[in-house]
């Protein structure tokens, strides 16, 4: 029973972090129909941000979110305005490959500047895990989980209650109709990409104390992230969260009760099975 509970807790905690990464990606896709392959690198930048914040200014990573999120929001908007906007008319495939090139560029620039030295964030209060009822819960992971809930709730409220949020949702549903309603689609796209980048950065900051820092960690993260986002339904924030937690659980339970070697396979198989019965993902809306 202990083993089962431990697996479930680990799975949900880890899965929620993956979900955080996925949320940014899905929001961008929902509005702009772009699959941003450089998303993993944005997460990586958030991770390094947390690291340097701690190393240079003694900032606790979880506190430094307030710096990095706005910065990445701005950065994302700039990337859209000066890089992506010209590419999008060329089609989805071109845009995707463009972001692939961008991802190579960012990851290798990071490798060049920050070198490949392994780095981790060591927090004094995180040396030993909490052990409620004998289940190990690492402190940074629990903190990240909590903050992820807060951020996601804030995002949900933003999208549901504010005018800007509604404009984003409208554009996501039907760009032409939204434009007819007076929404500046170009401006919304820019804001959305900024938002997606900010979410990626936040996910990176939250993830950093639980993982390790390496310039190419983005490519490992993004593979998981795609499965989650598609599983949940492209464009759906709720879907990304559901997908993340589901995948985290499946992998954790799969590793413990089926096979460690095949745990990723189980995830992919579930992924395919879900798509067979719900071709647009768990919470997807119609055909893309």
């Amino acid at each position: 029973m202990d083993t089962f509970l431990q697996s479930v807790v680990s799975g949900v905690l880890t899965g929620s972090l993956y979900a955080m990464i996925g949320v940014g990606l899905t929001v961008v896709f929902g509005v702009m129909r772009i699959i941003n392959l450089a998303h993993g690198e944005l997460v990586m930048l958030g991770m390094y941000g947390a690291f340097w914040g701690l190393a240079l200014w003694k900032l606790d990573p979880f506190a430094s979110i307030v710096i990095w999120v706005p910065l990445m929001f701005l950065g994302g908007m700039l990337v859209y305005r000066f890089l992506l906007r010209a590419i999008i008319p060329g089609g989805e495939l071109n845009t995707l490959l463009y972001t692939a090139g961008l991802s190579l560029l960012i990851a290798n620039l990071a490798l060049f500047v920050w070198t490949g030295d392994y780095r981790t964030i060591k927090l004094k209060y995180a040396l030993a895990p909490m052990r409620p009822f004998g289940i190990a819960v690492p402190i940074p992971l629990a903190l990240a989980f909590g903050l992820a809930i807060v951020i996601t709730a804030a995002l949900y409220l933003f999208l549901a209650r504010t005018d800007l949020g509604r404009a984003i949702r409208a554009t996501s549903q039907n760009p032409e109709a939204a434009a007819l309603m007076g929404v500046n689609v170009d401006r919304i796209s820019m804001v959305t990409f900024g938002l997606g980048s900010a979410l990626a950065g936040a996910a990176g900051v939250l993830l950093a104390p639980s993982l390790y820092l390496y310039p190419t960690v983005g490519e490992i993260l993004i593979a998981k992230c795609f499965v989650i986002v598609v599983l949940g339904g492209l464009g759906s924030v709720v879907g990304a969260i559901a997908g993340g937690v589901l995948l985290g659980l499946v992998e954790s339970l799969g590793a413990v009760y089926v096979s460690v070697a095949y745990k990723d396979t189980i995830g992919f198989v579930i992924f395919l099975l879900v798509l067979l019965f719900r071709p647009s993902g768990l919470f997807g809306v119609g055909k893309s």
């Binding site: 431990q6 697996s7 070198t115 030295d117 392994y118 052990r131 190990a136 490992i220 590793a255 413990v256």
Partner: protein, 410 residues
């Protein structure tokens, strides 16, 4: 019009890139290494190690009056690129010898190319047994093979009273490296009647070992064996094992990931008492090794371990062979002469004694041109207060082993 400008700039950049580097009259050694991607830190270690050796040798007048040069090329940890880079070094850069490779997959590819293109390949670090067990007469290896790695650990559990595991959990990465070592360790354990309660292969560069460790904890193993070729996996394995609460009498790490400084630096107190059955990094009681460590640390501010020692020593092995070979300037003849010279190698480096021969390994592989002293080049070390110190066999020990582990509650 602007498009033409862009295209024009493009093309001229390309042409500028294509300008060949000027040829120098040096003795060229080719070294494919991963300089980008997740393995890049290791490529960098070898770059530094080769660099120091080349500097020292050239400062003393080079080899027979000629300077030696190591030419590094990035293979990005991809097999096909490793082959391309090897072909380039052999056919285009016209090196006399190849070394390097770092990861076994790429090294196998390089060995295949070297064998076909008749160029000596002197392996410094890659450990897959098949590199020297396919009868390639152009391939030589200084370092121990994967199946030899666990030798010192095997001796430890056999010779130290009470150390024989009552049960063992083995967690290893699903690469040729991880599989070979795990296999070798498990074969020995089984021969001693030790039950293997967990046999788990994980995908390399995993992000999360908590599920694996949850599974392991359920079996309450007496020993936890962890194999990791990547430092990131080694760090996370140990961290998650202790977080989940696995409590064996000994945490034993195998592989490069456990033998690098970063492990203690990143894990801090969590690394205490973790054993590392990484390959040999020289006898610390020997003055030559001590001097090398001191010099390397002062030059690069890194404490060298197995990778640096292997890289440094291999250049000396190659230089020695170059010295004894009669080089005429004819590339094919020279390469053959060097091969002949390597067959007669009999020397001592900071890494240890080197002599290449044909013999059978612990799992029955028939080796060709494998260092005959390899069985002695396995050591069990332990992380104690942030330092990796050799603890077994006694002849190479720097201190006594701490056993059983006292950092976890059993």
């Amino acid at each position: 019009m602007r498009k033409f400008l862009v295209v024009g700039v493009f093309l001229s950049v390309l042409l500028a890139l294509a300008a060949p580097a000027p040829a120098q009259d040096t003795l060229k050694i080719g070294a494919p290494q991963p300089m980008t991607g997740p393995d890049a830190p290791f490529g960098d270690k070898f770059k530094k190690a080769y660099g120091m050796a080349v500097e020292e040798i050239n400062a003393k007048g080079g080899v027979n009056g000629k300077k030696i040069e190591v030419i590094l090329e990035d293979h990005q940890a991809k097999n096909a690129l490793a082959a391309t880079v090897a072909e380039k070094l052999i056919a285009q850069t016209k090196v006399l010898v190849l070394t390097g490779g770092r990861a076994s997959g790429q090294a196998v590819e390089i060995a295949s190319v070297a064998q076909r293109l008749k160029t000596p390949y002197v392996v410094d670090h890659p450990s897959a047994d098949i590199i020297t067990s396919k009868g390639f007469e152009w391939v030589f290896r200084n370092n121990p093979t994967g199946s030899i790695y666990p030798q010192a650990f095997n001796k430890f559990i056999s010779e130290v009273p009470g150390a024989l595991p009552k049960s063992a959990a083995v967690v290893y990465d699903n690469t040729v490296f991880g599989k070979t070592i795990a296999n070798s360790a498990m074969t020995f354990l089984k021969s001693k009647g030790v039950p293997i309660v967990n046999d788990e292969a994980y995908p390399v560069n995993s992000l999360d070992f908590k599920p694996v460790m949850t599974k392991v904890k359920a079996n309450n193993p007496d020993y936890l064996l962890m194999v990791a070729v990547a430092t990131t996996d080694a760090i996370l394995l140990t961290k998650h094992a202790k977080e989940i609460g696995v409590a064996p009498r000994a945490f034993v790490g195998f592989g490069g990931g456990f033998g690098v400084e970063d492990l203690a630096k990143e894990l801090g107190p969590l690394s205490q008492n973790v054993f590392s059955s990484a390959a040999w990094s020289g006898n610390p009681n020997e003055p030559a090794a001590k001097e090398f460590y001191k010099k390397f640390q002062s030059k690069y501010a890194i404490f060298p371990k197995e990778h640096e020692v292997e890289g440094y020593s291999i250049i000396y092995v190659i230089a020695d062979a170059l010295k004894r070979a009669k080089l005429t300037g004819n590339l094919e003849a020279d390469r053959e002469a060097i091969r002949q010279s390597l067959l007669r190698t009999d020397m001592t480096t900071v890494f240890g004694k080197v002599k290449f021969g044909n013999w059978a390994g612990p799992l029955g592989d028939k080796y060709t041109n494998q260092n005959i002293y390899s069985l002695d080049h396995s050591v069990l070390a332990q992380w104690l207060d942030g330092k990796l110190l050799n603890v077994w066999p006694k002849a190479n020990a720097e201190t006594n082993a701490v056993f059983p582990d006292n950092t976890v509650k059993r």
